[in-house]
Amino acid sequence: MKNNKIKIKSSNLNVHYGEKQALFDVDLDIYDKEVTALIGPSGCGKSTFIRCINRMNDVIDICKVEGSITIDDEEIIDKNLDVVGLREKIGMVFQKPNPFPKSIYDNISYGPTIHGLAENKTDMDEIVENSLKKAALWNEVKDRLNEAGTGLSGGQQQRLCIARAISVNPQVILMDEPCSALDPIATAKIEELIDELKKSYTIVIVTHSMSQAVRVSQRTGFFHLGKIIEVDTTEKIFKNPGNKMTQDYITGRFG
């Protein structure tokens, strides 16, 4: 491992949806400028966990989060926290590509406009171009920036969403099954992109594909029924898991 700096640290994290508890005492460290993959059977709380990191669970009325998550040693499970500032720091890419019904350009410029990141049009053009380049989409769309973002192919849309997340210059990017709606070629492109992005960003990715976890991540966490069963380097988890359940899951015996 090239570094040991912990970027995100969750301790004793408990989450309830109404009466139902979805996460139990989750302790998980996510290291800076690394890709951390979260795996586990459906309904085990992976999405719930990463939605705690950018406080997206606030949108759900019945969701109660207790415990602690710190980012660079700053507590974020705090009623008085400025959620807008937090989400500027932590981008998110969803399972289904969800570009806004706006032009490609406006899709990217949306975040910077809201956060006042560009002084003028030239600044904004630059941000848009850089974000699209980082998301490996620039060459495909540079001549059609004014066309609708929804007119792109599924894979392009997902890269547009990644570019949108990058546009506000976040430190962390959360990805919840970003390739599950995509074909193998588009998936390969995104995986390549993730490899590139981890140089500048800390990435947390939820995936159902073991091979994807192996390909893109340096560290893997295995969830089961709302508990974190095992976290370690990806190599260790897949070659020599410390837990019987992890072993069973990655070899496809359940889940």
Binding site: E88, F94, F100, I114, C161, S167, V168
Partner: protein, 466 residues
């Protein structure tokens, strides 16, 4: 009589449903063949064969029977006296019928008495032959149905086909009725436009149809024509309509849209549960109630207010009518835009929140643009509702066709004028009456064009963002 027949048809169809179902069960169980459809379908199949032919015959019989009887009676009357005009014949026939029904008043002539006898005879004959016809069709149809069932036909397929046919006929009726209405509008308007130049009508600045005293449009003298020409200028009416609709939309669009946004995005489910029905109650209030609210409360209120401010406010004002109409339209806008906003996928909102947008930024920049086609649609629906609204304007905005943009004066609208033209005793061939059809036609075209533009706009928008 017809009611009894209908009742019998219902009972028999139900019985044949039961019969068809058990019949096919028996057939399949005794002969152990594979059944082609669920037993219920055979029930439906037989029930349809039982009910449909009978209902069709009954329908046509009821339509044609009176006409045929009238024709036959008139024939006998003519044989007695060849000199009857058609109007006299009509009158006699009416007398005969009222005597038959037992509410005759006036002098009884021999002719009428004989006529009633005839009428009675014809009625019984008609009655009997109807029953015979119905019975025989019933027997024929039901036997055919049973025959088909015994062969284990494809009942599901046949039932589907019959249902498709029925649905098609219903839509045909709807389409034909619409066409009929449009054509009658068109023909009456053409009569009007043969008397009055269409340009005088469309671009004339003066509306005073009471000046058009001539009764017979086909015999207009030059002087009368001069008089007529200036009386049917519809511009003040269109202006008034647009003006009042504009005031109404100024009230309804902001309030309706914002309350729709509140309901969809901000209100807790508890608030929503109670306040949405309350707003929708507004849509259920009869317009005449809004009308007297406008005429008796809002209108006088503005006048008094105006007096205090030394303003000339007529007690019937465009402002009062427009405001109340706006209130009436609020629920249309709010509940439609609420639905449309709710239909915007949550994933778009999530995308916006995730990048750090606040709720209001998300609504302004993502939700509203995504919902815009639907919002435009609901606003246009509201506009056509405003243009077509009559009662409030009759009661609150007055009848004077002033060409004005002062909301404190009284104005009038197309629909109101149509009402005014057609109430009371009217001769159907006077230009005054026919002008109502012309107004109706123009209004129809105006709404049509409005809707067309709206659809084009919505479609273009969709193409851009989908």
């Amino acid at each position: 009589m017809n009611i009894i027949i209908l009742l019998l048809v219902t009972i028999f169809s139900y019985l044949s449903f039961l019969y068809g179902r058990s019949r096919i069960r028996k057939i399949t169980s005794t002969q152990s063949i594979k059944i082609n459809a669920l037993p219920n379908y055979y029930g439906y199949y037989l029930a349809l064969w039982c009910a449909l032919p009978a209902l069709i015959i009954l329908l046509f019989w009821s339509i044609f029977e009176p006409a045929i009887i009238k024709y036959l009676i008139s024939q006998t009357l003519i044989q007695n006296d060849l000199n009857y005009s058609s109007e006299q014949l009509n009158l006699l026939y009416q007398k005969i019928r009222s005597l038959y029904e037992g509410n005759f008043s006036g002098t009884l002539t021999e002719e009428i008495k004989i006529g009633v006898k005839n009428y009675e005879n014809l009625q019984t004959i008609a009655q009997n032959s109807k029953i015979v016809l119905l019975l025989s069709t019933f027997i024929a149809a039901i036997s055919y149905g049973i025959f088909r069932i015994s062969k284990n036909n494809k009942a599901r397929h046949d039932v589907e086909k019959i249902l498709t046919g029925l649905l098609f006929v219903c839509s045909l009726v709807a389409i034909l009725t619409t066409m009929g209405i449009i054509f009658s509008l068109l023909f009456e308007s053409l009569k009007f436009f043969s008397a009055i130049n269409i340009f005088d009508f469309l671009f004339g600045m003066n509306w005073s149809p009471q000046r058009a005293f001539v009764s017979d449009a086909s015999a207009i003298t030059a002087l009368e024509y001069e008089n007529l020409k200036g009386a049917f200028g519809s511009v003040p009416l269109f202006a008034g309509t647009a003006f009042i609709a504009l005031i109404a939309m100024l009230v309804a669009v902001p309030i309706g849209l914002f309350s729709g946004i509140y309901m969809a995005e901000y209100a807790s489910s508890k608030v929503r549960k109670y306040s949405k029905p309350i707003i929708e109650i507004l849509a259920g209030i009869p317009t005449v109630v809004y009308g007297f609210f406008a005429a008796l409360t809002v209108g006088p209120f503005f006048r008094e207010l105006g007096e205090k401010l030394n303003l000339e406010v007529s007690s019937e004002s465009a402002l009062a009518a427009g405001l109340v109409m706006g209130v009436m339209i609020i629920p249309y806008v709010s509940s439609l835009s609420d639905d449309v906003i709710n239909a915007v996928p949550q994933s778009l909102r999530d995308g916006s929140y995730a990048i750090g947008a606040t709720k209001s930024e998300t609504i302004k920049n993502v939700v509203i643009p995504a919902a815009l086609p639907g919002i435009v649609g609901s606003v246009l629906l509201a506009v056509s509702r405003a243009i077509g609204e009559t009662m409030i304007v009759v009661m609150a905005a007055g009848l004077a066709a002033n060409l004005t943009i002062n909301p404190l004066e009284s104005t009038t609208t197309i629909t109101t004028q149509i009402v005014m033209l057609l109430i009371g005793d009217q001769e159907f061939d006077s230009p005054k009456t026919q002008s109502a059809f012309a107004l109706g036609l123009t209004l129809f075209f105006a709404t049509l064009i409005l809707n067309y533009i709206a659809l084009r706009f919505v479609k273009k928008y969709r193409e851009k963002y989908e």
